[in-house]
């Protein structure tokens, strides 16, 4: 029983990574800086990525598998069986930290979706139990799961997903009782309820635009090699794939919450913040953490939006459209920082979760046969390798982000503003990366 959520690492306990060394942080920051201006100076002058033509059709045998009914059904069944199994642990399991619900919720679901989507494409869309239930309802009533009673309002875009993602990170990072079963169960019940009502009202479009997990997973899958155009499965370079990300209202909100919250997770464990919060008794630690999380997300959004908007424009664009037109370029930065921040957590608590899953009701059973496995802490025992991996991930994410933004800039900005127009955005990205490295060093 551990109701002391406030100071637990990422909501679940255990030791955390060592900070990276100052030498490594400075080397990473220097690399990011140099690459940024190198890209600006020597990269191509005509846009390379065109969603209408990029990529080539996937080989027939892959298409035959992926587009077959049995393949789709298989993953729907896998997703639903896991959903029922973990749901049973949530409803009938005990309120102990060894209940696998916490690991599945905070580690497999939240962090695990990122590598899965990078490798296999929009994974959550394929296994989402809420989509499956919606499909089941449609089959029973003889309606079309893609359409609902109403048309999804275009203006809403991804904003509901941004709100949903914020609700998740709030529960994980701020809410003091995040490792008690009641709040997690309530959060999941609310998620399922909102998704089912939304699906009934607006059809599958709702999941595509408003399901926080599907939006997150599909956005990350834009950095995989798997794409689709007019229902044709494509293989294309991750950067070309990323460039084809649909521009929708609220995209900037989604990336701001994703990056801001990960940065705050680093920041809230730093000795500075812990001491500050504990020395300022006027406001509770809970209130400070609320304020901190919100400030990080809003600041990331504001810095990025300002960076995109400080440019000269042609007549064909409105200034306030720019943040969403560039928002896809934050995705690699988010992925790089997620790797840096959650790699050891995913590997180690992820294994622990697999072990705990074998005993969902905490009564000593071993349903899956994984109950006697041991967690390998190999990664934690190699702190230098871990630190190097983190910095390489952050710098690589930064480089890809800068290239994505560069290609978009030369496509949409008038030629005379292309160089100067990119500078403010470049500074914003450098600020994110150097700030992220600083947090890894100071955490």
């Amino acid at each position: 029983m551990s109701p002391d959520g406030i100071n637990l690492a990422h909501g679940l306990g255990g030791a955390k990574d060592l900070p990276i060394s100052p030498e490594l942080a400075i080397a990473g920051a220097t690399a990011a800086l140099v690459v940024s201006f190198t890209v600006l100076a020597v990269a191509w002058r005509n846009p390379r990525y065109d969603a209408a033509t990029s990529g080539r059709p996937a080989p027939d045998w892959i298409v035959a598998i992926v587009d077959s009914t049995w393949w789709r059904v298989l993953w729907r069944v896998v997703g639903f069986v896991v959903f029922l199994y973990v749901g049973a642990a949530a409803i009938f399991g005990k309120d102990l930290v060894i209940n696998p619900v916490f690991g599945v919720f905070y580690v497999w679901w939240w962090v695990g979706l990122v590598p899965l989507s990078l490798l296999f494409g929009p994974v959550w869309k394929a296994i989402s139990p809420v989509r499956t239930i919606n499909l089941g309802f449609a089959k029973i009533s003889g309606s079309d799961p893609d359409t609902g009673v109403f048309t999804y309002p275009e203006r809403l875009g991804h904003w509901p997903a941004a709100v949903g993602l914020f609700a998740f990170v709030w529960l994980e990072l701020v809410y003091p009782y995040s490792t008690e079963i009641g709040p997690v169960r309530l959060w999941c019940a609310a998620y399922v309820a909102v998704m089912l009502v939304g699906g009934a009202l607006f059809g599958n479009t709702f999941y595509e635009k408003a399901d926080p997990f599907e939006v997150y997973s599909t956005l990350v899958s834009r950095m995989s090699v798997w794409g689709r155009r007019d229902d044709v499965l494509l293989i294309r370079s991750p950067l070309a794939n990323l460039d084809a990300t649909p521009v929708r209202p609220g995209l900037i909100g989604v990336v701001a919450v994703l990056f801001g919250s990960t940065a705050f997770d680093s920041f809230k464990d730093s000795a500075h913040w812990v001491k500050f919060v504990q020395n300022h008794e006027g406001l509770s630690g809970y209130a400070w953490n609320n304020l901190g999380l919100l400030t990080f997300c809003v600041a990331v959004g504001a810095i990025f939006a300002t960076g995109t908007m400080l440019t000269g424009l042609g007549d064909d664009l409105k200034r306030r459209e720019l943040p969403n037109l560039f928002a896809h370029s934050v995705v690699p930065i988010v992925v790089g920082y997620v790797v840096a921040h959650y790699l050891s957590y995913l590997v180690e608590v992820g294994q622990l979760t697999l072990i705990q899953l074998s005993d969902p009701f905490s009564n000593g059973s071993n349903y899956l046969g994984t109950g006697n496995l041991q967690v390998s802490y190999w990664l934690s025992y190699h702190p230098t390798l871990l630190a190097n991996t983190k910095v390489v991930a952050v710098v690589a994410g930064h480089v890809l982000g800068v290239i994505a933004a560069h290609d978009r800039a030369i496509r949409i900005l008038p030629r005379r503003h292309q160089l100067t127009g990119q500078l403010p955005l470049l500074f914003a990205m450098i600020a994110f990366t150097v700030g992220g490295l600083y947090l890894l060093f100071a955490a």
């Binding site: 551990s2 002391d4 406030i6 100071n7 637990l8 690492a9 306990g13 255990g14 030791a15 955390k16 990574d17 060592l18 900070p19 060394s21 030498e23 490594l24 080397a27 990473g28 690399a31 140099v34 690459v35 190198t38 890209v39 020597v42 990269a43 191509w44 390379r48 003091p176 464990d269 000795a271 812990v274 001491k275 504990q278 020395n279 008794e281 630690g285 180690e348 967690v375 802490y377 934690s380 025992y381 702190p383 230098t384 630190a387 190097n388 910095v391 390489v392 710098v395 690589a396 480089v399 290239i403 955490a443």
Partner: protein, 120 residues
């Protein structure tokens, strides 16, 4: 695409080179004296109040607790450890931690971080 990629390769290799220089000190022996941390818990306040403390891998940590009321201290190592103390003076030993990382030592009763052990 080729030139930026070449530049990237150069920079990443520089990075590896730079980072290779500044790491991997000799592993410290576990036979060193224990690190002693004096902890005072008085009402709602705790000293130290969230400080970082460097600890060698394998080094024992001794917590000397002076408290005005009984309570509980949690050590967020992997796996976690808990100590219950009574009012007055008590002493606990955290056995040498051999997994490098940050371990939070927390007053469970006050929900405050006492120290963060930087094990390396």
């Amino acid at each position: 695409m080729r030139r930026p990629l070449a530049a990237l390769a150069v920079i990443l290799s520089t990075l590896t080179f730079v980072s290779a220089c500044g790491s991997d000190e000799a592993p410290s022996s576990s036979s060193t004296d224990p690190k002693v941390i004096q902890i005072t818990i008085d009402g709602d306040s705790v000293t130290p109040n969230g400080d970082r403390v460097d600890v060698a891998v394998g080094q024992d940590v001794e917590l000397d607790v002076t408290a005005d009321a009984p309570g509980e201290i949690h050590v967020h190592s992997s796996p976690e450890q808990e100590f219950e103390y009574e009012a007055g003076d008590s002493t606990f030993t955290i056995k040498g931690i051999d997994q490098p990382g940050i371990v939070v030592v927390e007053s469970h009763t006050l929900e405050k971080t006492i120290v963060q052990l930087e094990v390396k």
